[in-house]
């Protein structure tokens, strides 16, 4: 198992390298010069060239990429100019090992941006994840149990509605009515545990997380239902019944365990991609998470932030994949490495 994880991590690192390179190449394939954005509106040709040089945009994408990789490994300085460092050390930003770049737009290192945004996105993701897994599996199992009856059709129908409605619509609905008009909730505003304690943290997350969870829950209800029904048709469930095992035990010990395997895969990957930021939800509720950061970065042509986001999200997905595979082996002995 250990060797397997090492091998997977190794492959993951190579994938990250390739992805970051592709991101760099794609970015410079575009018609826009990133220096124009960095330099500001009233920027002369000379100023633009100077900015370009200061930020390293004049170098070829591959060189920039190798600088980036070097930054991740050993850290770097912005701008990387020994003369300037001597003359005005305050103008040079130091970015230690693990450096993901420097955003001119926000005038800080990408790492610093992430440091503020990650807790927000992770909080929403965890909260939503817990809600949708519990709700999705619960309603999915109920629907499967009452297959074809009214309860089943009701659950599946409602799930379809939530699945079909766009998240921004549901989010706006909550925000406008539940929070603003009816004042059931205060308008949520992210508060870290350090600032307001667990209560305030959870309270503020409730609405955005629920918005997000509803969408995923709808999908998980349908999937759980399908997987449970599929495993109900398995021969080994018939065997369990033939042994005289109680129906409830047949369902929870025998059927659900088998249905869990595909769910774990889906859940792991969904959770990972959510860690990288829920773009729409964060924008609707104005939470400064990774998703909103991404929106801003795209609008401002903020290359370093975008590259950082791509790498971060890819890392989440790769790690989640490895975790899912390990979980697989825990659930299914046939996959277990001898």
């Amino acid at each position: 198992m250990f060797a397997y994880v090492i091998r997977r991590l190794f492959v993951g690192v190579i994938m990250l390298l390739v992805m970051s390179l592709v991101t760099f190449l794609l970015f410079f394939a575009g018609p826009l010069d990133p220096a124009r954005f960095a330099c500001g509106k009233n920027c002369s040709e000379a100023q633009q060239a100077q900015t370009s040089k200061a930020l390293g945009f004049d170098k070829s994408p591959v060189v920039q990429w190798s600088d980036f990789v070097k930054g991740v490994v050993t850290g770097r300085q912005f701008p990387d100019d020994p003369a300037l460092r001597k003359a005005a050390p305050k103008l040079v930003t130091d970015c230690p090992t693990g450096c993901l770049g420097y955003s001119v737009v926000s005038t800080s290192t990408v790492n610093k941006e992430f440091k503020e945004a990650i807790p927000v996105s992770v909080s929403i993701a965890i909260f939503a994840f817990i809600m949708w897994i519990i709700g999705g599996v619960l309603f999915g199992v109920i629907a499967a149990l009452f297959k074809g009856r009214l309860l089943d059709r009701g659950i599946v129908g409602i799930a379809l509605v939530f699945f079909a409605f766009p998240t921004f619509f549901i989010g706006q609905l909550f925000l406008q009515f539940v929070a603003i008009k009816w004042r059931v909730f205060e308008v949520p505003d992210y508060m870290s545990i350090a600032e307001g304690g667990i209560g305030a943290w959870a309270y503020n997350l409730l609405l955005p997380a629920f918005t997000l969870a509803l969408f995923y829950m709808a999908g998980y209800v349908r999937m759980t239902r399908a997987f449970v029904l599929e495993s109900m048709g398995e021969d080994y469930l018939r065997t369990a019944r033939a042994k005289g095992v109680r129906q409830s035990r047949v369902l929870f010990k025998h059927a659900l365990r088998a249905a869990l395997t595909p769910l774990v895969t889906m859940a792991g990957l969904d959770f990972a991609s959510l860690l990288g930021g829920a773009i729409i939800t964060e924008t609707v509720f104005n939470f400064n998470g990774l998703g909103k950061l991404a929106v801003v970065a795209v609008n401002t042509y903020d290359l370093p932030t975008l590259v950082g986001l791509v790498i971060l999200l890819a890392t989440f997905v790769i790690l989640a994949n490895i975790v899912v595979d390990i979980l697989y082996a825990v659930i299914d002995p046939r996959v277990r490495v001898g």
């Binding site: 398995e234 021969d235 080994y236 018939r238 065997t239 369990a240 019944r241 033939a242 042994k243 005289g244 095992v245 109680r246 129906q247 025998h254 365990r257 088998a258 659930i331 299914d332 002995p333 046939r334």
Partner: protein, 373 residues
């Protein structure tokens, strides 16, 4: 439709005699499934009886209703849309009149079942021992340790080497034959009076099949259980069964002692089954005599005798009786409790004069053991 069958069921079952109903007595069992296209009559008026210590072979092709009937005995139809009528008396109790909970308590303790494909019949995520022990714990108030000890004991009994070690293996770590042994251990752990084996050796190799059949016979002697073995393989029936019931399109078409059925069958479908199987000792130049056509749809079975569209002897029946009237199960010429469902005035004569000569070539081949010894 088959008004005579209840009395018939009482008469059959060799051990029944005057002592009343046999250990297992199925009377006029009907299992119908309503579908949007109509009612599927999977089993339509099935009756038979079986004593402890004896084996009944139910033979038929896919869709003949043999598996449906047996899982109904176990009560596995409960919770589905199946409409069941008739009687299934096990040791005097009508299983169909029991509540779901009462039936559940009998499953695995008084009736148990082993299935065709032991790989898919075992849960892939639990150890073999765990699954066998579960069957024991459901019906006995024992702790985990005792159940495990009992599982090891049963694994040992069915011939799994190093049972105390293999008990913790998962099903995929067993070979096909060992899995079926483990299934048998699971089925017999509560010493049930009735064991239903649904195609227990179909998925296995010949040498393994021989091992499993031997094991079943040994265990039957030891536990004195009644066995219903469901199969399409007449060879398995010939080796295992005391009595044979041939099913076609949800109905019993011939029923009697194994030897009678195999030597003096009186129903064209049984003839077809016998003549379409090549034999390891037969003449190789002889052509197989297949049954023409395909098995019928249970949704829309043929009128009259369900076998008539495939029957090559129906011109010997006066008029169009075969296409209009369902023949009753009537006693065969050979006597005993051998019955068959056929309009032919004298099927025994047709068999002797026409069917046997056609198979003759097959019969003249030298029996294998004469040269082996």
């Amino acid at each position: 439709m088959s008004s005579s069958t209840p009395t018939l069921a009482q008469g059959v079952g060799t051990g029944a005699g005057a002592s009343g109903t046999p250990f297992l007595s199925v009377r006029d069992l009907k299992v119908h499934f309503p579908t949007p296209d109509g009612v599927v009559k999977a089993t339509d008026g099935l009756s038979f009886g079986l004593e402890r210590g004896r084996t009944l072979g139910i033979v038929g092709e896919s869709g003949s209703g043999k598996s449906v009937s047996s899982s109904t005995i176990l009560g596995l139809h409960r919770g589905s849309r199946a409409m069941v009528s008739g009687e299934i008396l096990l040791d005097g109790t009508d299983l169909l009149s029991l509540s779901d909970e009462e039936m559940r308590l009998r499953r695995g303790r008084e009736v148990s079942m082993i299935f065709q494909d032991p790989l898919s019949a075992m849960h892939p995520y639990y150890t073999v021992g765990n699954q066998i022990a579960e069957a024991y714990r459901v019906h006995n108030d024992v702790n985990r340790k005792q159940a495990r000890a009992r599982a090891i004991e049963m694994l040992d009994r069915v011939g799994i080497p190093q049972p105390d070690r293999r008990v913790d293996d998962y099903p995929h770590q067993y070979s096909g034959g060992m899995r079926q042994r483990a299934m048998i251990a699971m089925g017999l752990i509560n010493d049930p009076g009735l064991l239903i084996a649904d195609e227990p050796t179909t998925a296995l190799d010949v040498t393994v099949q021989a091992q499993i059949l031997d094991l079943l016979q040994d265990l039957q002697k030891e536990f004195n259980s009644a066995i219903v073995i469901i199969t399409h393989d007449l060879g398995v029936v010939a080796e295992m069964a005391d009595e044979v019931l041939v099913m076609y399109a949800g109905r019993c078409v011939e029923y009697g002692p194994t030897k009678q059925i195999l030597t003096n069958p009186e129903m064209p479908y049984t003839w077809g089954l016998l003549s379409s199987v090549p034999d390891v000792t037969g003449d190789t130049d002889a052509r197989l005599v297949p049954i023409p056509g395909n098995p019928p749809s249970l949704l829309n079975p043929p009128t009259g005798c369900a076998f008539h569209p495939r029957c090559t002897y129906r011109d010997k029946v006066p008029g169009s009786l075969c296409t209009t009237d369902l023949p009753e199960l009537t006693p065969a010429k050979s006597g005993g409790f051998h019955v068959r469902r056929c309009h032919l005035p004298d099927p025994a004569a047709v068999y002797a004069e026409e069917v046997v000569p056609e198979m003759q070539a097959d019969m003249t081949g030298e029996p294998i053991e004469e040269t082996e010894k």
